[in-house]
Amino acid sequence: MSEPVLALEGLTVTFGSARGTARVVDGVDWAVHPGQTLAVVGESGSGKSMTVLSATGLAPRGAKVTGTVRLLGEELTAMSDADRRRARGRHIGFVYQDPMTSLNPVMTVGRQVSEACEEHLGMSKQEGRKRAVELLGLVGIPSPEERVDNYPHQFSGGMRQRVVIAMALANEPEVLIADEATTALDVTTQAQILELVAGLQERLGTAVVWITHDLGVVAGIADRVVVMYGGRIIEQGKVDDLFADPAHPYTQALLAARPQPGVRADRLLTIAGTPPLPTELPPGCAFWPRCPVRGDARCEHEEPPLVEVAPGHEVRSFYRADPAVTEERSA
């Protein structure tokens, strides 16, 4: 297989607080290859955003980041801040979770896209503007020559998200990181954006890291999937393996908790309780307090390692999910 574009090894992010140390990302390893899509899923607070922000040098103040991150084979984590900023600007496109924070409300969208081109590709103002029009067209903004001088508030939510994607693509990145890029959009607009990204990826060979909590979106776009819980990867594998045969009780329960199309079950399977806070992680398996399987005392006291259960399919649990539940779901 080709060299990964972006690879994380043992990425750990902690915050010190009055209540002790909060380990919000704990030993995360994953890699994404050219033209491939890695989906990162998990519930709110599981550490998805913090993982990619910290990996690319954008961790918030007060975060302590350890581990190794390689971008195109170069160690980002060993670079000076300035070099890291340059590498990020040159090779990574980032769609942040809140699109309004990425857009400046008092600057035309054209200027914003063009500035990114000028800064990272060394274009002149004129070239930048031309490229901005091109990019806006590429992401499906109708009559881009006219819209280039509009301000963000003159666009709908879906159009604004396209502009943000155009900005992320301005530097012709090798890897696009999209954090909940379609969560706030209607499904019809989401479908347009997903198709757009798939098309660009096919044409440009971009690697994509797609962060979402929507398992349907994952099923549609991912090659590989990473499932996070309590700051740790609890399962990862090829998209087909993970959906057909979820091995972690949490992944399985998450899949089973969604209503199935065409099936009107009386009750949905639920997971008791709520996801843990990073300051209140249990000593053993992070999922233990909510786990329907709960094998033995080890689950409560020992942290299970991530082990391979099939080629390329890894699980962090002492016990496998109950296959009968998966069977019932797909029946």
């Binding site: 519930e43 709110s44 109708p142 709908s156 939510g157 879906g158 159009m159 209607d186 499904v187 019809t188 607009t189 989401q190 479908a191 347009q192 997903l194 198709e195 909590h213 929507d214 398992l215 349907g216 979106v217 994952v218 099923a219 549609g220 991912a222 998209v239 087909d240 959906f243 329960a253 998450l254 899949l255 908790a257 969604r258 209503p259 199935q260 199309p261 065409g262 009107r264 079950a265 009386d266 009750r267 949905l268 399977l269 639920t270 997971i271 008791a272 709520t274 996801p275 909510r290």
Partner: protein, 344 residues
């Protein structure tokens, strides 16, 4: 013209009915948002009516109109057989006992300064339901128990609870007045995936135990299919299709419904790869100046010149299933064929 979604039910089994409802918001410089623009629907006793549609289609405004929480521009709102459209503020107060609302964001609908016990007791006092403080306290305990929270949680403040727990409090508060109808406006949208199923199960159980009627507003099509006995699909202030979940999800008759359903990703990678998606172009048009004729025509893959002229009425596809398209099922068939050609 009116788009009629009702007619098949008798007055007695209808908890709430809106007829040719219009809610227009003036937004300055003579502009008017046609948020709801000719909606008729019945909510029948004991059922869950699901209301789906894209952002801005008028779902919340329709729900708010049932509680008379927005100004009704024209049309009528009936609750339990009484026309409440022009009731005064004083008259409306007891109406809010019969019809209660649960909002999307439970933290925004609860006063952060009040304990949740006080929040739940508030409607009891407003409606003069339990005279003494001790009685109210007891009732709050019962309500908390009903929604699966420990009665001793009454002393907590909203910020000390999780999102799912706060939504349970929102539901308990809505149940305090012993309503017939609950308008649930995106009740699971802000919750974690694993918590959404808990709340859907809770709502189902409460409906069985208390004989409640629900208007379930959501943009989550899978959740609406799971929860509803009937479904109404809204687009730009109108209902474009109604029917049972089977009718709507298996056999959509309106091009918008078909496109919407084809855009919902399912958690099945093999199926996703096979999927024939009907891609809609552009965004939902502005409700300030909705398109002439059929409102969906600007995005409809099956639109023909006629669609700009005639405003389609809901026609009966089959018993209990209605859709508002000039070209009836032909339009959906044509779109499907187009999607197949594009992909295959």
């Amino acid at each position: 013209m009116t788009t009629t979604g009702s007619t098949e039910s008798t007055a007695t089994d209808v908890v709430a009915r809106v007829t040719d409802l219009r809610v227009h918001f003036p937004v300055g410089r003579g502009s008017v948002v046609h948020a709801v623009d000719g909606v008729s629907l019945d909510v029948r006793r004991g059922e869950t009516l699901g209301l789906v549609g894209e952002s801005g289609s008028g779902k919340s405004t329709t729900g708010l109109a049932l509680l008379r929480l927005v100004h009704v521009t024209s049309g009528t709102v009936e609750v339990a057989g009484q026309d409440v459209t022009t009731w005064s503020r004083r008259q409306v107060k007891p109406l809010r006992r019969r019809v209660a609302m649960v909002f999307q964001d439970p933290s925004a609908s609860l006063d952060p300064r009040l304990t949740i016990g006080a929040s739940i007791a508030e409607p009891l006092a407003v409606h003069g339901l339990r005279g003494s403080k001790a009685e109210r306290r007891e009732r709050v305990g019962e309500l908390l128990d009903l929604v699966g929270l420990r009665p001793d949680m009454a002393d907590r403040h909203p910020h000390e609870m999780s999102g799912g727990q706060r939504q349970r409090v929102g539901i308990a508060r809505a149940l305090a007045g012993e309503p017939d109808l609950l308008v649930l406006d995106e009740p699971i949208a802000s919750l974690d995936l694993s918590v959404q199923a808990q709340i859907m199960n809770l709502l189902r159980r409460l409906q069985e135990e208390l004989g409640l009627t629900y208007l379930f507003i959501s943009h989550d099509l899978a959740a609406v299919e799971h929860m509803s006995d009937r479904v109404a699909v809204m687009y730009l202030g109108r209902i474009v299709e109604t029917g049972t979940p089977e009718q709507i999800y298996r056999n959509p008759a309106h091009p918008y419904t078909a496109a919407l359903l084809s855009a919902v990703p399912t958690a099945d990678p093999a199926r996703e790869r096979e999927r024939r998606r009907i891609t809609l172009h552009g965004d939902i048009p502005s409700p300030v100046d909705p398109p002439s004729g059929c409102r969906f025509r600007t995005r409809c893959p099956a639109a023909r010149p006629d669609c700009a002229e005639k405003d389609p009425d809901l026609y009966q596809v089959e018993e209990g299933h209605r859709a508002a398209c000039l070209y009836k099922v032909e339009a959906v068939r044509e779109m499907r064929a187009g999607a197949d050609r594009a992909t295959g």
